[in-house]
């Protein structure tokens, strides 16, 4: 009930396709059972092709998205290039472990393409920064059980961008409909070599 990571609700998922990745989240922000906002995006961009999904306590989602904006901006000034997904994953991990004994109550996921090789990269974390590398999909949030079920049944390797969009969308849509704390709209990013496409999905409004 007063578990910080399930006060506000929310879900996020990332998937790997053929030379592309997709990352998606729902848009709900609630206070326990009461829906407060239907416009709370949980996916943030921190490089040309580096994305972060942040579920959990909304206060920490905002705090961390601001911390990472600061850190990646300073990184860009130092390195004169934007951060790679791999590097960013390590940045997330070390940032979270700094707060080992008073953690941020979040479930981050990273998705992106390496700028040199165009190789897809996804990974997830626990709240203290342990990295979970995966080659297929990563789920996070209050609908993570449902997302695991949907992804295990819908996912197949080497999907083209359009098919990957369909797969991740259906996985998320059907997962959040079985979770009282998630839903109220979804947003999906499909990242390919030469472009990033953002789509907002209409969902059930209950």
């Amino acid at each position: 009930m007063s578990d910080p990571s399930s006060i506000n609700g929310g879900a996020a998922v990332a998937m790997v396709g053929k030379d592309c990745v997709a990352i998606a989240s729902d848009l709900r922000l609630g206070n326990q059972s009461l829906g407060v906002s239907n416009n709370f995006e949980k996916v943030f961009q921190f490089g040309d092709k580096t994305f972060l999904g942040l579920t959990g306590l909304a206060s920490d989602v905002t705090t961390l998205s601001q911390v990472f904006r600061l850190k990646t901006n300073l990184y860009k000034l130092r390195e004169e290039r934007s951060i790679e997904p791999q590097t960013f994953a390590n940045l997330v991990s070390s940032t979270l472990y700094e707060k080992r004994f008073g953690p941020y109550f979040i479930g981050p996921i990273v998705a992106g393409l390496d700028s040199k090789t165009d190789k897809p990269f996804i990974c997830g974390f626990d709240l203290i920064g342990c990295i979970d590398f995966a080659k297929d999909f990563i789920v996070s949030g209050t609908a993570s059980d449902q997302l695991y079920g949907m992804c295990e049944s819908l996912y197949e390797p080497n999907l083209e961008p359009e098919d990957l969009f369909e797969t991740i969308s259906q996985a998320l849509l059907n997962a959040v409909d079985r979770d009282a704390l998630s839903g109220w709209g979804c947003v999906v990013y499909v990242i390919t070599k030469d472009r990033v496409v953002k789509r907002v999905l209409r969902t059930r409004q209950d």
Binding site: N31, L34, G35, N39, L57, A58, S59, T62, T63
Partner: protein
Amino acid sequence: MDIIIGLTVKEGTIIATSKAATRGISILKDNDDKTRQLNSHNLIAYTGESGDTVQFAEYIQANIQLSTMRENEIELSPKAVASFVRNQLATSIRSRKPYQVNALIGGYDTKTQKPSLSWVDYLGTYVELPYGAHGYSAFYCTSLFDKHYRKDMTIDEGLKLLQMCVDELNRRMPIDFKGVYVKIVDAEGIRQIDFN
């Protein structure tokens, strides 16, 4: 619990707060104003632990006014004010004794000429909303807002909708909250208006 409601209309933001100051089973005061003016186009309305609330609101007020003086009378935008409040509460929640304060910040951005309503709770959760409320009143009012709210409402239409909310609260709330103070933030600044 105290009542705090806010909504944005086409040309401004309307904020209503209950007049009753309650402690246990007693109403101590029937003319309690739960708002503080931060600068000429920003108003904070608050609920929560008595003692914390006024302390926190006046601390915010002082800092925003200090900023205005330091920045040569250039005032912070509603977004900047709300971010500052959020940041204070997000820092506070991990301290030894956090402020237990929930707030609505009504603002009017004079640069973009857009009204705004920021919903901030004691955890440091911050969202911008077309309409919102804190506490039990949120349960009664949000459904009314969902049904009747339109983005392009005038101030008068907004006040009519607010009247519906207050009527509903008078009907359903177990204790008398002694009516509400209503303040409007728009291009002209902040003003209080007569309400029932």
